[in-house]
């Protein structure tokens, strides 16, 4: 299950949704807003998402995780809007009988979510500038 939200993510509530008597392993990942990127001081981040397709594509990623790894449950929630340093931007949780599948599926979901979902972030820097993340890399490859 993939969800987009504009409100703070509650990892503990999400974790409880993955509890299963047949599960021996639970792996989770969270992306937090950190105070620096590429050597620049960051003050906050603005996430823009096209939610309908972010959800569709996220659901597809989660289906793929189920096909590739023997897991019980996998979920992902992504924030949009303005986020402050320390806030959780994305959460992924996976439960499985064994830890190998839980880790691999969790990693698969976050890796795919980062490169496939229509989500963008604009960094706001301490000096007042702002910029879309990855824009520079894109131009460099141009």
């Amino acid at each position: 299950m993939m969800r987009m939200t504009e409100r703070p993510i509650d990892p503990e509530a999400l974790r409880r949704e993955l509890l299963d008597r047949a599960a021996g392993a639970y792996a989770s990942f969270e992306g937090w807003i950190r105070n620096h990127n590429d050597g620049r001081a960051v003050t906050r981040l603005e996430y823009e998402a096209y939610a309908p397709l972010a959800v569709t594509e996220g659901e597809r990623v989660i289906r793929e995780a189920h096909e590739r790894f023997p897991i019980l449950h996998a979920r992902c929630v992504h924030r949009s809007g303005l986020l402050e340093i320390g806030e959780c931007a994305v959460w992924v949780g996976v439960s499985a009988a064994h830890r190998d599948a839980a880790f691999l599926a969790c990693r698969y979901v976050i890796d795919q979510v980062k490169v496939r979902l229509p989500i963008w972030k604009k960094e706001h820097y301490a000096n007042g500038d702002s910029g879309w993340v990855n824009c520079e890399r894109c131009a460099a490859h141009g």
């Binding site: 994305v90 490169v115 963008w120 890399r137 894109c138 490859h141």
Partner: protein, 81 residues
């Protein structure tokens, strides 16, 4: 053949275009044609390979054909997480 398309822009593409959405008349066969024609018009220079496209709310390939009346969503390089 000229087609009437609704084009939606996101993130930096919205800033380049100066709008969320516009109706355009374009002589375009594929999604890639739409991308190039509008990139020229709006002065955007991101390479197509880093960008994504959706047609009528479904992810599409750049060589997907566009039809008169379609809504084309142009996505600059994504950066979730």
């Amino acid at each position: 053949m000229t087609k009437t398309l609704t084009v939606r822009y996101f993130a930096m593409f919205r800033e380049h275009a100066g709008c969320d959405e516009e109706r355009v008349e374009l002589d375009a066969t594929t999604a890639a044609d739409v991308f190039r024609l509008l990139g020229d018009r709006h002065g955007a220079s991101e390479p197509l390979g880093h960008c994504k496209v959706a047609i009528n709310d479904a992810m599409a390939d750049w060589d997907s054909e566009v039809a008169d009346g379609d809504t084309v969503l142009l996505f600059p390089p994504v950066a979730g997480g």
